[in-house]
């Protein structure tokens, strides 16, 4: 089921991005995007109860982080709407719940207060509706944890940067109060140092001069730089001309390097002559067959035993099967090898 995590995340982010583009927090707008994408169909599947439940659990765990910081208020609203939509359109009973951790509850309450202050009644109504519908599990941690589980790829926890406010940590750190405090301490420090030296040498710099104005200046430069950068990025995004061309040029370059390196085949050593490498054109289908062979498993014990007994059994046909004490019936036709499901078609095929 974890294989669905990537696509689900992509779908949710597309929905959120489209909602973000509307620059609104109204539920009508969300509903429009939801219906346009036909998002409730995400639950449609063959009615296998367990699979449906696992999927509902998965999509809830993917969607719920959008309701919490560090996302912007608008994305958090969208996250709430998304949870509401998902909770009500899932196809199983009893419905899968939304997990909310104790440490995140304060954020949810702050969110509610912000919504009250801004009089976003639709947001409030939906939050209260979810609470009164008993849509939440009140838990210790946002997801069940199990030590030693397979390490997921970082994609799972990666946050979508477009949904987050630009960071303002330096600005938060250096407030006017803090500046004043630093100024005072600095003065104190100067006095102390002066008292150590009975006759201060005028050429000796006891302390750094103008510490506070310098600090203030640095913060201001930083924030203006940050602002300028986002501005210029937006402009670049708007007029995609030059960056687009550049990236495609890069892609062409990479492709040409790849084709050159795959175009040559190293000659195998003498001992491996019987398994000489062959040049396979890097077209989609062939490549996909090649890849799985890399990590081919050794045959199972069952097939190995069967092979061994088959070679012996060829000589004396009516031999009893030693390990099951019954006469050999007609040999089964060799079963067609089952093809394994390929979860990531993009990765194995289409290397360019």
């Amino acid at each position: 089921m974890d294989n669905f995590r990537g696509p689900v995340k992509a779908d949710c982010e597309e929905l959120l991005a489209r909602f973000q583009a509307t620059e609104s927090v109204r539920y009508e707008q969300f509903l429009e995007v939801w219906r346009d994408m036909n998002f409730s169909s995400i639950f449609y599947s063959k009615p296998e109860a367990n699979e449906r439940r696992m999927f509902a659990r998965l999509i809830m765990s993917v969607a719920s982080p959008y309701f919490f910081p560090p996302y912007t208020f608008q994305i958090r609203v969208a996250g709430l709407y998304l949870l509401y939509g998902l909770f009500n359109s899932q196809l199983i009973t009893p419905k899968e719940k939304i997990r909310i951790a104790l440490k995140d509850w304060e954020d949810a309450m702050q969110f509610q207060r912000d919504a009250v202050n801004a009089q976003h009644y639709d947001v409030l109504y939906i939050f209260r509706k979810l609470l009164s519908d008993k849509a939440f599990y009140f838990t210790a941690m946002p997801t069940p944890l199990c030590y030693g589980e397979k390490k997921e790829d970082r994609k799972k926890t990666e946050i979508c940067e477009e949904f987050v406010d630009p960071s303002s940590r330096p600005q938060e750190l250096i407030t006017t109060d803090v500046l004043e405090e630093i100024g005072n301490i600095h003065e104190h420090y100067e006095g102390m140092k002066k008292s150590i030296f009975a006759e201060p040498d005028p050429n000796l710099n006891l302390i750094q001069q103008n510490l506070v104005p310098k600090l203030n200046g640095a913060i201001l430069t930083y924030s203006s730089w940050q602002w300028n950068r986002t501005e210029s990025e937006q402009q670049q995004d708007a007029g995609e001309g030059p960056s687009n061309q550049e990236s495609s040029r890069r892609a062409q370059l990479i492709a040409s390097i790849k084709s050159r390196s795959y175009g040559q085949v190293a000659e195998a050593s003498k001992s491996r002559r019987h398994r000489q490498t062959q040049l396979v054109p890097a077209d989609g289908a062939d490549f996909s067959q090649k890849l799985p062979s890399k990590k081919k498993r050794s045959p199972s014990l069952k097939t190995r035993t069967q092979l061994r007994f088959n070679t012996q059994g060829n000589e004396s046909e009516g031999l009893t099967r030693l390990w099951c004490l019954s006469a050999v019936k007609e040999e089964k036709a060799p079963e067609k090898r089952k093809k394994k499901f390929n979860w990531n078609p993009e990765k194995s095929s289409d290397p360019s």
């Binding site: 696509p7 992509a10 939801w34 063959k46 104790l102 509850w105 639709d122 409030l124 009164s132 944890l145």
Partner: protein
């Protein structure tokens, strides 16, 4: 003074808000009882109660708190109606043929692939798993006294199986148990099922009918949990020994800090300080060691199984392929023989019936020379 004590109190509270110690691996250590109190403090009792409050009351409250007109609320209700979320597509049991969501594209491919597999039999195990779920889902007790009190906590434990087979090194086989916060550790111990509790010792080839009904569980009752630096020993029966002593003495000679001991029947989960997602130990039958992981802690929900008698509740069991009798290939093995001249392999497995027909004559006299032991299949709990 009072201010200081309240500050200390607050600090203590903060300590017990679970947060990540390592992101997505395990939480920090917190006191489960205090954690529950913290939730109950911040929540309106309506939110976790089992009965739904009347929608009219909800409406009035909403209007009062927000200071809005009833007309506005009506509008809100229409806008936010659940029905408008649904799409016109009515066939929810099939993936739409031209999906544009990437999830559906993947599912469509998977569904098409599954249709190419020929599997016309219903998976027995799936059926069984469903049945197991049906017993507990949304179950209300017959007797109102057995109702779980509101605001109770459910803990989810994964109990790993010890390495019975070589392949358990690669598959993390486990069972999942739900227990209530007010239950004792000994309740959890009794709910854990493990084949090493069922073994019968001794050689019975001369007296196959005399197999004693006593299993290891009745003979060797000692067990302990090791949570967070404390050994919780089972001391309910006079035969129980403190089998953690060996470990403790060993540790003492090697300059380890001292471990605490406690009795598991005197400890409820509320008294524990634990980390979510962190591996702990359950040891029984001397050396049968299970890794125990607390995966989840949460308040009881009205859709949970509310019958206190059904807890600890098993929600997941790893299923093992059973070893069949080597004669009939039909029944699960009950006997294992060694140095058996009649058997094709050494050791060899037999079901009860085949074993008797094969090794004894009509009058129950032993034929040939062999040693027979009782065999408990690891798949017994399937």
């Amino acid at each position: 003074m009072a201010a200081r004590s309240s500050l200390m109190h607050e600090e203590k509270q903060l300590e017990n808000v679970p947060a990540y110690e390592f992101i997505n691996v395990n939480s920090n250590e917190f006191h489960i009882g205090t954690f529950r109190d913290l939730w109950l403090d911040v929540l309106n009792p309506k939110v976790y109660s089992y009965c739904n409050s009347a929608p009219e009351i909800e409406d009035v409250e909403f209007i009062e708190e927000m200071g809005i007109e009833p007309k506005t609320l009506e509008e809100l209700k229409i806008i936010c109606s659940v029905d408008s979320l649904r799409s016109g597509h009515e066939d929810a049991d099939n993936v739409p043929s031209d999906p544009h969501l990437s999830t559906l594209k993947l599912r469509k491919r998977r569904q098409d692939y599954k249709e190419t597999l020929t599997r016309d039999t219903v998976d027995r195990h799936e059926v069984y798993a469903n049945e197991m779920e049906m017993i507990s889902v949304g179950k209300k007790p017959d007797n109102p006294r057995d109702l779980i009190p509101e605001g109770e906590i459910i803990l989810t434990f994964n109990i790993m199986y010890p390495i019975l087979f070589q392949r358990f090194k690669y598959v993390r086989a486990y069972q999942t148990l739900h227990v209530l916060g007010s239950q004792r550790l000994s309740d959890l111990r009794d709910a854990i099922c493990c084949v090493s509790d069922l073994q019968v010792f001794g050689e019975f080839s001369n007296t196959p009918d005399m197999v004693p009904q006593f299993i290891s569980k009745d003979h060797y009752k000692s067990a302990f949990f090791f949570f967070n630096g404390t050994f919780f020993n089972d001391a309910r029966f006079p035969e129980c020994q403190d089998i953690s002593m060996t470990t403790q003495e060993w540790a003492r000679t090697r300059d380890f800090p001292d471990f605490k001991t406690a009795k598991m029947e005197d400890t409820s989960f509320y008294d524990l300080k634990m980390k979510v997602g962190f591996p702990y130990l359950y040891n029984h039958q001397g050396d049968c060691e299970h890794v125990v992981i607390l995966t989840d802690v949460r308040l009881v929900h009205q859709d949970d199984c509310l019958d206190i008698k059904l807890y600890p509740l098993i929600t997941h069991k790893h299923r093992v392929v059973t070893r069949k009798c080597s004669v009939c290939h039909l029944y699960i093995s009950r006997w294992i023989t060694t140095s058996d001249a009649l058997a094709p392999t050494d050791p060899c497995l037999f079901c009860d019936q085949c074993f008797r027909m094969f090794h004894y004559d009509d009058k129950g006299n032993k034929l040939g020379d062999f040693l027979a032991y009782a065999y408990v299949d690891p798949g017994t709990f399937n």
